[in-house]
Symmetry: C2
Subunit: 234 residues, 2 copies
Amino acid sequence: MKKEARTEIPRKAVYRLSVYLRCLHRLENNGIHTVSSEVLARAAGVKSTQLRKDLTYFGQFGTRGLGYEVQQLTEMISNLLGTKGFQPVVIVGVGNLGRALLSYRGFEREGFEIVGAFDLQPDRYLVEQSSVDESAAKSQSKVKLAEWLKAVKIPIEVKPMEALPKVINEHLVKLAVLCVPPKSAQEVVNQLIEHGVLAILNFSPIVLSVPDEVTVNNVNLAMELENLSYFINE
Amino acid sequence: MKKEARTEIPRKAVYRLSVYLRCLHRLENNGIHTVSSEVLARAAGVKSTQLRKDLTYFGQFGTRGLGYEVQQLTEMISNLLGTKGFQPVVIVGVGNLGRALLSYRGFEREGFEIVGAFDLQPDRYLVEQSSVDESAAKSQSKVKLAEWLKAVKIPIEVKPMEALPKVINEHLVKLAVLCVPPKSAQEVVNQLIEHGVLAILNFSPIVLSVPDEVTVNNVNLAMELENLSYFINE
């Protein structure tokens, strides 16, 4: 598929591909081999005209009266999303959120392999967690990052930033998850891009500036909650 | 502020309020007391016409030539977002992602208090984590959810679903974070709504059906990575 053709596809259509893929997996698990655009669209929460339009972007047309072949469509979408094999990923920033993401194994289930975790200070002590029981928290001894990872059985070594280029080159990493504090985010992003990263999942609450060929998706969990909070605020 | 007036404000404008708030906090920390719409807009990565339009929705007009007062604007936005005090939140589903969110303390920093964690099987053993070193993983003994939380020093008790109504009523909870498996998601959501929850941050990869007065924000971390994967896939 040509690069130029791909750039015209709306960002949201690519998100919807992920939704379709999940619905197709459920159909496949239930032993269903073909599906009409109406049924697949309903499962995905979109209109069937939307679904047909989205799939047409990628050259897939259903057969009138028969619909789509589940297995064939699954394969096509997995290929498009590049998640058929394992896509290598690095995580930069192993603070509270970075550690949470390391302990969340959902990425691996979905075809992403964390090949490296980096931190600006991999050797630091963790900041004491705030606790409901303040006195209990104070009596806890300080813990190093490496000890914490061992305690929760995450078999990964957090490396200093200097080790980044080697890991990126060895594993041909194009995808990075960014969890560093806002004040370091842009500098880290510049390094990532310099070494060949082309896509960044940014959890840092800051607007990153990147060249055109680099894609950034921003996720801010606190902001999602804040947004909901607005709607329940009287 | 009237309910009817609020419903006309675009969802994205509310997200941008969160971005403006973070930029204002940075300005405040740097001892800056007034800011022009141009400077604030640049920090937030939007056009200044967009910023002015957004703030006008909420009845805030800058003074020509003087701009906005940082403290006053901060207060107004915090009030709108309902995050001036602590907003109580429950987490339902303490699997890998739920545990990751419990260990991530960012919510509390932003004005949200986790007042309860619930699971369909709070007493279960955790599934062995997949490991780079398979033999090491197999030799590890099984761990109960409560033991895991103790090991990582999260002072929260995971309760069964039957305890949900009491906690929601006691803390007047309107906001829930949903991390249950897709097959249980809709049923859990129905329960949450029945007991008065009005807003749901949904991490379950499923389209939830909810009444009009309930707001759902969907976050799917694997889907964000998949989306990026598309853009680096040749």
